[in-house]
Homo-oligomer: 382 residues x 2
Amino acid sequence: MELSLAPMKKVGILGGGQLGRMLLQAAANYPVITHVMENDAHCPSAHLCHHFTKGNITDFDDVYQFGQGLNALTIEIENVNIEALEKLEADGVLIIPHTASLRIIKSKIAQKNFYKEHQIPSSEFVVTQSLQELQQHEYFLPAVHKLSSGGFDGRGVQIINTKEELSKCFDAPAVLEKKVAVHKEIAMMIAVSTTGETAIYPAVDMVFDPSLNLLSHQICPAELPQQVLWKAEAIALSVVKHLKSPGLFAVELFTDVSGNVWVNETAPRVHNSGHHTIEGNYSSQFDMLWRILLNYPLGNTSILLPSALINLLGEEGHHGEAAYEGLHEVLAMDNVFVHIYGKTITKPGRKMGHVTVISAEKQELLHKVNKIKHGLKVVSHS
Amino acid sequence: MELSLAPMKKVGILGGGQLGRMLLQAAANYPVITHVMENDAHCPSAHLCHHFTKGNITDFDDVYQFGQGLNALTIEIENVNIEALEKLEADGVLIIPHTASLRIIKSKIAQKNFYKEHQIPSSEFVVTQSLQELQQHEYFLPAVHKLSSGGFDGRGVQIINTKEELSKCFDAPAVLEKKVAVHKEIAMMIAVSTTGETAIYPAVDMVFDPSLNLLSHQICPAELPQQVLWKAEAIALSVVKHLKSPGLFAVELFTDVSGNVWVNETAPRVHNSGHHTIEGNYSSQFDMLWRILLNYPLGNTSILLPSALINLLGEEGHHGEAAYEGLHEVLAMDNVFVHIYGKTITKPGRKMGHVTVISAEKQELLHKVNKIKHGLKVVSHS
């Protein structure tokens, strides 16, 4: 019988957006003192932690100072000062994910080389350092040009079907990936404990809006032949195994009509594709990450009921103080869970919240997704 | 289509214990600015709200000042300064529950008179102002003596089987209630919206520890003949209807072997008997209270799965910084949800957390309840 003898553990989160917010909602179930660092004192997480530090998560001194004295530290976004995390890790702070795995994932170039090195199926690619270098790879089209660092939520990604579009690409280190004949995009969330145990969540179907290159909605569990799901699980587990780090990982994969599976990319943190687990699964991705950070056993990843998730994005043409049109109508629907992230200002395409629907009936999920997508809008005052 | 045009609403909570903590976890799903007042700046809610005010919730000036400028205000405990709430209500602040209903419930004497006035079945009683007056009611034994104000969690209640025990009773305004031949104690949670709609949660079986006069565990849904459940629902609805207030109400009832039902007492707030709704029901009692406070439609009270709940009380003989013995073992069990309230100091019998189990199998619930009751202990260091 283990006795938690130490005083409450101190755990920090770099970044104070909606992922931090939902992590902190889950943290209040456990004996833990929470610390958050973010540049904006009015960010979604600032009021939900024990100790908020205004600071720059990409600055060495800010991050190193923040992490000193913490038992564990995790991230909400990959774009953090990794050198400071490496020093903290050497000092004995538990960094989740381990910095070696973060180094691989943080750079799209390193990530693609990692897949290649470990024979993990992923689309063919070449590395390009500049626009000039890119011109030499016309033969690679149609392709997708991805900025090596700093891309996020569809930014830093350029689809190139013709050579005329090459000029829209990035004059900076990037990868040029061959376009894959995508049938479906799915996401697999995997938890890895500090003792090396793994738990895998049922796969999620990601349905994209082709014009915005942004998630339209997602459905869990994914509807795919069992053979394809097994292959996807095996590939996602292989990614995580080779990253050699505890943490919560979201592996995004493509499938084609022939049942081939490729890794698109991996995030070493709680992820949009796992938000449905709050209501749809026994242990949510946020609960799970606390179990990892606090050295508890992993939770149960099984679903309670199938779920659908809709991101709530700032409406086009609206920039200003956020208001929620149609919220009453959505809250009047049964088995619908609204998560508003508490951001004061809405901007076109900004992630302002999400809505989860749970039901044993797929038709009911899709019917409600459709109603919510058309009925709920984030607009600005006046 | 209603548009939330106003800036985010400001809502206050009087009291910063575990009920406030769980309310604040749920608040982060909605666009709301949260305010908490409590005398202890290290209370379980202090770090989870936008604005914490150190103040005395029984002090007129503290409460009145705290409430000014808020859109709505609710309570975590009945023992608050009601005169200040009345003035705030007159000023236009939405007080949930309305102060007229709080006046009735806050005093056990007024509460018993209220049941009598509205022909709501409740045990026979007499009012006693002093120990001296109590002596005149020997004929009433066996009975229960309940302090009119200030009782909480089993304090302020004295069971009297013989006249020798009369001396243990309260020399203050109290009610002396005839002992009822209790078969079961159940709780019914009811939500009432600001527009008068009601939603009733499935009944909960409260299983008491006879030595501590404290809840041992609870099971939802309660196992009772359908006729008895209907009667209990009708009685609980009648209580709420006559209180004429929006809010979240917990009505505790007794049943006997003949199927009679009596009201024991009512709480006009989120309540220990509803904690299982966080995981067991679609809309938790905490989610539901936010819907009421923010004028949203009521949520779905249906259960997802049957649940059991165990309170985690400070172990006898332990007083000091809290540690959790057996937490790992409990977290290794599937479908078990731990809620630690983050109180630094444990004391014998203090509510330090709770654990919810959900399962379609009653045997599994009871088996896990038993393991958790014997395996998880709140002790103090050294």
